[in-house]
Point group: C2
Chain length 424, copies 2
């Protein structure tokens, strides 16, 4: 059974608006084991709209049209569907009542353009719109169920949930019970994992689809099955990934590095602080973005200037003069200073040259020292990651969190992605 989407609106063609509706529709369908087969997006072009409706309805069993139900002249969906399917367009009394009530409740003068929202194809059925002025509607044409939905995201969401999904599943009952296992990883590349599977797991079961979603800085691995009975195979693949790259798996679903670190700290009843120079507060921001972070995060210092390193973290001015702000002794002193000031159990400290300026021959842009650990047990690594400023900051903040995560969980502290950038 093929479902297609037809999205209409000049604003989504011009790029002024990013289309988030089709993703919402796809996710809601996915939750009922329906997939979107194909999606077409066009502007407010009547002839093209008619042509697409005719073409798509002959090539699929369900067509969801989104947008173009509003009161303005460039809202063409009802007229286009009527023309495409050879129906007259008439006032539907129930729709007229809905739109007039809607305007009355808001004390807005009811205009002719508003009345337009009740002018619908003669033989269509209405779909309630609990929040908006324009009702949805559907009809059958060339064996295709055509459903027209509003472009306003909040209205669309409720209409999908409360009407459209039922409409589709009544018409096309569905035996599948898909389930996707999502794993968040850090330090792995798509091609690396794919290679690993091809090389070490040639008999990977075809029932388990391995998918990737590259984020910055994380990579999501997905194990998707279509039938509940394949869950055992899904688990096998998961176990195998655990063996092969387990130390790079942060957690399931949407788990972030910061969340993984905070969860582990809470389990171990430990607390964390940080002292940031080149990341300028980004690590603290990543941590405090997580609800409930205060249970394990004490606070931190953004010691951007040397003056701050001395005043806020008691870093010895001697050290700064002798070794420079970007050096192992200073990062160590930043970590110790933060531990003393905040009273936390663990510290993360980082100092580097984010660029574009500030590099030198012996310390080029991209040079960074990352420290983590407990009082008198601070580990420090020196990396060189010469990337654009924000990419450098995001990646190094992630590396710092990951090193602490590995320390807390007793995992390998020199994974390949670290070895790659390490400077002896």
């Amino acid at each position: 059974m093929r479902i297609q989407l037809l999205l209409t609106g000049n604003e989504i063609m011009s790029g002024h608006t990013v289309d988030s509706n089709s993703a919402m529709i796809a996710e809601q369908l996915h939750s009922k084991a329906y997939e979107v087969y194909r999606k077409v997006t066009i502007g407010d072009d009547f002839d093209l709209l008619v042509e697409e409706i005719r073409h798509i309805s002959t090539h699929s069993e369900v067509l969801i049209i989104n947008g173009g139900l509003g009161p303005t002249v460039d809202d063409l969906t009802a007229q286009a569907l009527a023309t495409a399917s050879g129906q007259a367009i008439v006032i539907h009394e129930a729709a007229l009542k809905h739109v007039t009530d809607w305007y009355d409740r808001r004390k807005i003068r009811f205009s002719d353009s508003a009345k337009k929202q009740a002018l619908l194809p003669e033989h269509c059925q209405l779909i309630d719109n609990p929040t908006g002025s324009a009702v949805g509607f559907y009809c059958d044409y060339q064996g295709c169920l055509i459903i027209c939905t509003p472009g306003v995201p909040s209205e669309l969401r409720r209409m999908m949930n409360e009407s459209v999904l039922d409409l589709i599943s009544q018409r096309f009952p569905n035996q599948l019970t898909p389930s996707t296992l999502r794993l968040q990883t850090f330090g792995l590349g798509e091609s690396f994992v794919q290679e690993l599977v091809n090389k070490n797991y040639p008999h990977w079961p075809k029932e388990v689809e391995l998918g990737f979603r590259a984020g910055m800085p994380q990579l999501e691995l997905k194990l998707a099955i279509q039938q509940a009975e394949h869950q055992k195979l899904q688990q096998q693949c998961y176990q195998w990934l655990q063996q092969e790259v387990g130390d790079s798996i942060i957690g399931a679903d949407n788990c972030s590095l910061a969340e993984a670190v905070l969860t582990t700290l809470k389990q171990q009843q430990q607390t964390l602080c940080c002292a940031e120079s080149c990341t300028g507060g980004l690590i603290a921001a990543m941590l405090t973005e997580v609800p409930g972070s205060s249970a394990a995060f004490e606070g931190g210092v953004v010691s951007y200037s040397n003056h701050c390193k001395q005043q806020l973290l008691d870093v010895d001015s001697q050290l700064l003069q002798q070794h420079g702000a970007v050096s192992e002794p200073v990062v160590r002193a930043m970590a110790e200073g933060a531990l003393v000031k905040t009273g936390a159990d663990y510290a993360i400290a980082i100092s580097g040259i984010a660029g574009p300026d500030g590099g030198s021959d012996d310390k080029p842009v991209g040079t960074v020292y990352i420290g983590w650990g407990k009082h008198n047990a601070i580990s420090v690594i020196k990396l060189c990651y010469p990337q654009p400023r924000t990419a450098f900051q995001k990646m190094m903040a992630a590396v710092a969190l990951d090193m602490l995560r590995r320390e807390l969980l007793g995992l390998n502290l020199t994974p390949s992605f670290i070895k790659r950038y390490i400077v002896e």
Copy 2:
């Protein structure tokens, strides 16, 4: 001349990823006065991909394919284009050199799946990818210029800018010389500005297209003209916007709030520090994301726990007990403490309840105190902005920066968007 887009990828069909690439492509084409006629999106389905390429290429002069250039098995674009256009698929030496160099620079072992990115249709020309491993490529088929671009947004953006736009305009020269004036604003809504124009500027020249791009937290205003001779009109509209909403205009092009604040501080030879509780380092991170921020930003404190407020900012424990951490006196003390410790001229301080937990009857979730100013001259406002945690943090960090910006520039300190959330 019709341009069509073909987007491919299971992740954008499943709804896991919202497609922002097509909006970016449309905007860049728009900047050269080209419009997108139609857009088709499909999953990683080889046969369908071949069918779409054949169909679209007979119905348009330019086809931009986005996605499917990567190293994994579900990256099918090169093979599909070769099949659709009846070409062999062969290793392109230049592409192979590009991808091997890319892996070498990153010290990643070069794998067979990586090599796949050099297997391209025999007669295609390469397009340089300055940042990614997969080159772009193009060829002609059925009188249609077919251009294949990478799905990674940052790679796509540069390839469009540096190669694809030129490729199209050389092939299809266009007499228009559009120019768009982009203004970054904070605190304005799209409909507010549109109504202002309708009401106070009924004779807005039709030659100047007013566009919007809602960002979080900024709103971009665009004044687009199609002919150089209309620049005077464009300037008139700009002047008018300056009169009406000038204090909400941060700067031109991509100027961020943090950048605007830092630029003004540098001009006034002043420096800044911050003391953050509920934003947890986000303000500092926004500031230090700007290259050269160290010239005006001294550093800051993330005083998440009360202990940190006392130890790092010398906030009196009495104050904390008497008024609570989320209170005017404490925010004032945080600002003063940060000024003393960092030696900066100006401070920003913020303390609030980001939620979802931690609210009370007299201080519900969303309550926040924002302070800014110089020693002994700290202004504090109390707002209530009950939104999801990250939205709350982003918006309140932006408000804090904007209040300082307004102070530094001597602008109105109670704009309407602040009045809306202010709590007496």
